[in-house]
């Protein structure tokens, strides 16, 4: 009787453990499948033309997406311009002066903002920028991506400033430095590599964002000059090509997906390695 019960307990233990292992394996199947298909179908479309030519009209084979690559770089650069300075400053504020009621409120809303759908940020920037300018532009796309980066950059900066040992700050203050110099020259400088990894992760996140670009940067089959024209970007062109009925465009979409995925994974993995090295060195 007692043995019976023990066997049953043992059985349910083994059952649940294997269920957990199975769940983990199932969760990883899509990742493996996505990586496999994007690599195997995308690799064929990667060639010199892909990086140097403009898209060809439907029906003509060949062509590339040089304008989308350049557009993505431009948009990400603008996103960094709009997203990083306010994000870092907000993070500094939270870490140095954030014990106030206002600070708690800012921290909480940054957390909540990171869960807000990117498409609503697109609508926000559309009404803020595109409606007033009356046309889509790279500028609007950059603002949208910058807004999306803000919460991540803010919270990472804050977390990392908090990790800087208190003794460093005290030593600097003891030497008679004013507080702003302590923050700038001691705290921020010590936390800088960590903040850089946080920024890399934020860039990786927005590099694949499509929804907010659909009605801010829009798309463009040609080169766009300056910040005031609609601009092609990798994610939007993947979307447009994927839902089109043309074989040739599907092939290009897979190739573009491979480039985008490589970029995102590279940013993620290197951020991860940087963090580990730093932690290991301590």
């Amino acid at each position: 009787m007692i043995l019976d019960r023990y066997a049953r307990r043992k059985f349910s233990d083994i059952f649940v453990r294997s269920a957990c292992v199975a769940a983990t394996v199932i969760a990883l199947v899509p990742l493996v499948s996505v990586l496999y298909y994007v690599t195997s179908r995308g690799i064929g479309g990667i060639n010199w033309d892909f990086f140097s030519e403009l898209p060809k009209p439907v029906g003509e084979s060949g062509g590339g997406m040089a304008n989308a690559l350049a557009g993505s770089v431009k948009l990400l650069f603008l996103a960094c311009v709009f997203g990083i300075p306010p994000g870092v400053l907000a993070g500094v504020y939270l870490a140095e002066f954030g014990a106030s009621r206002f600070g708690k409120w800012v921290r909480f809303s940054a957390d909540v903002m990171s869960g807000v759908p990117s498409i609503t940020v697109g609508i926000f920037v559309y009404s803020l920028v595109v409606l007033r300018a009356k046309h889509f532009s790279a500028f609007a796309g950059g603002v949208a991506l910058g807004v999306l980066m803000l919460p991540t950059v803010t919270r990472t900066t804050e977390e990392l400033l908090r990790l800087v040992p208190e003794s460093l700050r005290e030593a600097a203050l003891g030497l008679g430095l004013p507080k702003w110099r302590v923050t700038l020259r001691v705290m921020l400088r010590t936390a800088a590599p960590g903040i850089a990894t946080g920024v890399m992760l934020a860039v990786a996140r927005v590099a694949g964002e499509t929804a907010p670009l659909l009605f801010t940067a829009f798309s463009n089959p040609f080169w766009s000059s300056g910040l005031n024209e609609p601009t092609a970007s990798l994610p939007v062109i993947i979307y447009n090509y994927a839902v089109s009925p043309y074989e040739e465009w599907h092939r290009q979409a897979w190739a573009a997906a491979l480039v985008l995925l490589l970029l995102v994974l590279l940013l993620n993995v290197s951020a991860r390695l940087l963090v580990r090295n730093r932690v290991g060195a301590r």
């Binding site: 233990d13 983990t24 179908r41 957390d111 498409i119 990472t156 979307y239 997906a257 994974l265 963090v275």
Partner: protein
């Protein structure tokens, strides 16, 4: 600051013109009704798939896995969240949907075809594909927050249960899960919030048809995909306002869900980080 600014702006565009009363936009109100129903149905379906799997992953990673396995597997699960939405959509169109059409849906129709859920034409594109793709995308969110929550459980509880002779699973069930319950609910709600607002991948596989159907095989529409499909082509300020109102609804619902979820997670005594560091 950002939050209130965004909300106000959307308010000023969205609310003053009540759209539903106007019939000048053809088929509009049906589109939005389907959008709301489709958003709710696809998100709940995604939770049905994602919650058990994510809990399994979280328990495995925090309680059962050997130490050398935890970090690499945890990193892989987080990579799932790093894959861009549009890449999942591309994969959904050319890999997932054909597989559903040729393998899964015929099987379901044969074995469970007496239920209205599994009747009708098997297209691949539809509610089932949408639910699966959302599930894949919210699994990393739910499992990494759940894992943080489980880690925040004091190990004295675990050790106490083990010391009394519990098997590892019994220790989790009796000591860890009750303590972590509110945080796990919070993790699920965070996942729900992400599912509600997810746009690109689901737009690409759900079929985008303005119909409410009992069948999981049938194409549908979500609020986010209505916005994505219609926004840049919307003509007239009335239609734009209507779409902005859909966006406002999404925004308010996800903000509320996020607030509730954060509070629940906080109760376990640990603040999970937004990023994947």
């Amino acid at each position: 600051m950002r939050l209130s600014l965004g909300a106000q702006h959307e308010l000023s565009v969205g609310l003053p013109k009540r759209f539903y009363a106007q019939s000048s936009v053809r088929g509009g109100s049906g589109l939005f009704r389907t959008g709301r129903a489709g958003t709710i149905a696809s998100s709940l379906l995604a939770l049905c798939f994602a919650v058990p799997i994510s809990l399994g992953v979280a328990i495995f990673l925090s309680e059962l896995a050997p130490a050398w396995l935890r970090e690499p597997v945890g990193f892989l699960v987080e990579l799932l969240a790093a894959v861009p939405s549009v890449v999942y959509g591309l994969w959904g169109i050319f890999v997932l949907a054909p597989w559903l059409r040729t393998t899964v849906e015929p099987f379901l129709a044969q074995t469970l075809g007496f239920l209205p859920l599994f009747q009708g034409q098997q297209r691949g594109f539809g509610m089932l594909a949408g639910g699966i793709i959302l599930a894949i995308m919210i699994t990393p969110t739910i499992s990494s927050v759940s894992r943080e929550v489980l880690r925040a459980v004091p190990s004295a509880l675990r050790e106490g249960a083990l010391g009394l002779g519990a098997t590892p699973w019994e220790a989790v069930r009796v000591a860890v899960l009750p303590y972590a319950r509110s945080g796990l609910v919070g993790a699920t709600i965070l996942g729900l919030g992400r599912a509600l607002g997810e746009t690109m991948a689901i737009t690409m596989v759900i079929g985008n048809r303005s119909e409410i159907s009992a069948s999981l095989f049938a194409p549908s529409y979500t609020m986010a995909s209505v916005i994505a499909n219609e926004f840049s082509e919307a003509t007239g300020s009335l239609y734009l306002s209507a779409l902005a109102e859909v966006g406002l609804l999404l925004f308010v619902v996800t903000v509320l869900l996020n607030i509730v979820a954060r509070l629940l997670v906080w109760r376990v005594g640990h603040l999970p980080e937004g990023g994947s560091l």
